[in-house]
Amino acid sequence: MSIEEQYRTRAKELLAGGAVKMVIGYGKGTTGERRRPIFITSPDEVERLVLDEACITNLSGYLVSEGLLSDEKRVAVFLRPEGVRAVNILAAESQLDSDQLVIFGFDVVGNEIKALKGIHVEEFADVIESLKESAPGVAKELLLEKIESMSPQERFSYWQGEFAKCIKCYACRQACPMCYCRRCIVDSNQPQWVNTSSHSLGNFEWNIVRAFHLSGRCVECGNCDRACPVNIPLRLINHRMAEEVLGTFDHFAGTSKTQEPVLASFKKDDSETFIL
């Protein structure tokens, strides 16, 4: 039985038995290469679930949608390792109770689907730990190396060119599981911290603020990067932040549901190299 079929069978059992009220997974999209998030509530619908290497979107963001988990019933959700990390962070930040989740864990190695054993977030600790260990060794993409070798003025010009494209659609924010604030900083107008206009200044501020609010919380699922309709390479900024918190504080976001958020905690001997 393929992994897709195994998971379909499990989904059917869980729904038929009433163990879960909903399965959040992937379905066929408009075109052959696309997959879309689907929400199944009846055992007859499980044939709509698909699982292959095109299933990339991080679905954990749906877990904090308004009211979904408030009836205390359980929900099954297909998650890749970064999705499980996202759930850990959401649980650590008290946004959901991870005991309400049944995780259908999977990963894509090469072009093959691998099932990940476990139902509860705690069972994925090893997988996440090995991700943390291999993180520093992952090769940097060329564009990132190119930016890092630029002078500050060149870097500023590069980002100015990219942020000039931003139309303030907030697809990056909406697609991100970590951006769950009811009233985002851009929605505040007393004072107006970040302009809604898409001039470069406002765009710089928006993208800088979002990257900062995600520091130490981003799991690099790529949802934001894929969602951006004007192809701004957001993954580079968030990656740089993830790299920074790992190197400086040994913090890998989402290792457990009791992990302390990196900017809400401190060590008395945190290194300081630049403070005069």
Binding site: P37, E66, A171, Q174, Q192, N195
Partner: protein, 337 residues
């Protein structure tokens, strides 16, 4: 024998138009995005795209439009009005769906208040549309009773030649005719034939869908929650749509000076209908999605006799979660059978 513009003469045309006082705008690839921008030479244009990622709407209704600047002095307040930059423009290489989108919005911007920003730009623009010989899975102009060679909103329609050496020229409006006077000797008579147009299959039954939407019993249907479950509430679809036109007036500044701007807004945003009382009549994403569809295919046509959609497909193409108008209307077509 028909009028033909050969593509190797396009650079001459750009030169002539610039000499005649037009700026030339067309589809370009810049910084990893395809959009419309002003060009100096024909080589900068990318006329091989099926459709630009960003729409022509931005040339008439920019994301952020400065309206007036204020400075508060000790005994007075000074204001300085901003109008769009003035100057004739040739938009070369629009697509029929984009051009028709602008025509769809004309009655809206001229409805109860004539929007001078929109109309100044409209009156100073000549839209030269190129008919489509290619389409992708997301194009749906034919479902909206338009076509890959619709002339709605265009001043000139160019039909690509079969031999790919240029375009057949069809003059649609006086404005187009006048603009092409500047290149009258470059356009030649020739027997070249036009290439076959793209075949765009109808994706849904528009009339049946609209009838379903107009039926008040369907307003509270469970369909709305089911179809919009995966919508994340971003503004990708509304911002890229050539016909979406909601905006918000924002004052950016402080106690001493600032700028009043007209910025794009989106009915998909959670706070779009938030009242100062704290009540939000569209507090769920399904209510917001329902409103989007109802507005485009029920309320807007009710007022202006035309659907607020030109079938360009950008909403579906760009949606981060593979949603868009097409699927909703397809499902509604099925429901109303």
């Amino acid at each position: 024998m028909t009028k033909i513009l050969f593509s190797d003469k396009l650079d001459n045309c750009v030169e002539r138009w610039k000499k005649a006082g037009f700026s030339v705008i067309g589809p370009v690839q810049r910084n990893n995005i395809s959009t419309y921008a002003a060009v100096e030479r024909a080589a900068e244009l990318d006329l091989g795209l099926i459709l630009t990622e960003r729409s022509i709407k931005e040339l008439f209704f920019p994301q952020s439009e400065p309206m007036l600047q204020y400075t508060i002095k000790k005994d007075s307040i000074e204001t300085k009005d901003f109008l769009p930059p003035s100057g004739q423009r040739i938009i070369f290489g629009a697509r029929p769906c984009d051009a028709s989108g602008m025509a769809i919005d004309d009655p809206l911007f001229g409805w109860d208040y004539k929007d001078e920003y929109w109309f100044q730009r409209r009156n100073e623009s000549v839209i030269v549309t190129i008919a489509c010989t290619q389409s992708d899975d997301f194009c749906m102009c034919t479902s909206l009773k338009l076509a890959p060679d619709s002339t709605k909103g265009s001043d000139i329609l160019l039909r690509p030649l079969e031999n790919k050496r240029g375009w057949l020229v069809e003059e649609i409006t006086d404005r187009g005719r006048d603009a092409f006077k500047a290149i009258a000797d470059i356009v030649q008579e020739s027997a070249d034939t036009a290439a076959p147009l793209a075949v765009v299959e109808k994706k849904f039954d528009l009339d049946r869908s609209v009838a379903w939407l107009q039926n008040p019993e369907n307003f509270e249907s469970r369909f709305w929650k089911e179809i919009s479950m995966r919508c994340i509430g971003c503004a990708s679809c509304t911002f890229l749509c050539p016909t979406c036109h909601c905006f918000d007036i924002q004052d950016e500044g402080d106690t001493y000076s600032g700028m009043r701007r007209k910025n794009w807004d989106s009915c998909s945003f959670a706070l779009f209908t938030m009242h100062t009382s704290g009540h939000n009549p569209r507090s769920t994403q399904s209510a917001r999605w329902r409103q989007r569809i109802m507005h485009k295919f029920n309320y807007f046509p009710g007022k202006f006799s035309v659907n607020s959609c030109s079938g360009c497909g950008r909403c579906s193409r760009q949606c981060p979660v593979d949603m868009g108008i097409t699927e909703t209307l397809q499902e509604i077509s099925k429901l109303s059978q």
